[in-house]
Symmetry: C2
């Protein structure tokens, strides 16, 4: 039911330095940086096989990623798995008493649908589920 | 140069509960548990696309994963990327002044060669590089 690792999100203090690290050492080709003002982040991503690594830097300290950095420092922030049917996955999780952040799908980038399982419900790992649009 | 996400390692307190969580909610098929006494762990893994998730529980509190759990609690422990040429990757990293845990390859499971980049050298993410045997 988990189709693939869709992306890993890394929280970083300096997105340019982090992007340069992956470009220079591993030949990664990070995308143009994108500011997402509602989330208080600037992000870039690069492909690794069927997955992507997303580098995320907060644009303000009171954003969720800003608070994460203040508490935990730089590092792994979340994993996103692709699923075929997000509604069904959420309904199973709810039925099994798993703690969710999003009880119903939110609309993400490119018309994808996504929801977060609470890290308390997934053994400490902030886990995103993503359903891609058809075709 | 990073071929794919080879695995994600999750540190857990109760490997049976964690394996059951992924089996029951996501149809994962965790492998037989395996004790690796030198590392002080018991581990199981399941496939997600071209990657695997490894669930790792310490068998003693003074093992590296035991200490990790005591300090950070359950959650993401490390990511492993497949590379074509581990010697070349380590030599590039060293040349670029990146902090490594292993300056030369160690032999891992199934004759693979692996080495860890220090999380301080990789923006807070404990990063393993794996080169698989030919064929
Ligand atoms: Co995400
Ligand atoms: Co590993």
């Amino acid at each position: 039911m988990l189709g693939r690792i869709y992306h890993l999100g890394y929280a970083v203090e300096d997105i340019d330095a982090a992007a340069r690290f992956y470009a220079e050492n591993f030949g990664a080709q990070p995308s143009e940086k994108e500011v997402v003002e509602e989330q208080g982040i600037v992000a870039t991503m690069f492909r690794v096989g069927e997955s992507q690594i997303e580098l995320v830097q907060p644009t303000r300290p009171d954003s969720p990623v800003g608070k994460f950095l203040a508490k935990h420092g730089e590092g792994f922030h979340h994993v996103a798995f692709q699923v075929d049917d997000l509604e069904a996955a959420l309904s199973d999780l709810k039925g099994n008493g798993v703690q969710l952040i999003d009880e119903s799908p939110r609309i993400g980038a490119g018309g994808s649908r996504m929801a977060f399982v609470h890290p308390k419900g997934a053994f400490g790992v902030l886990t995103e589920l993503v359903e891609l649009p058809e075709g």
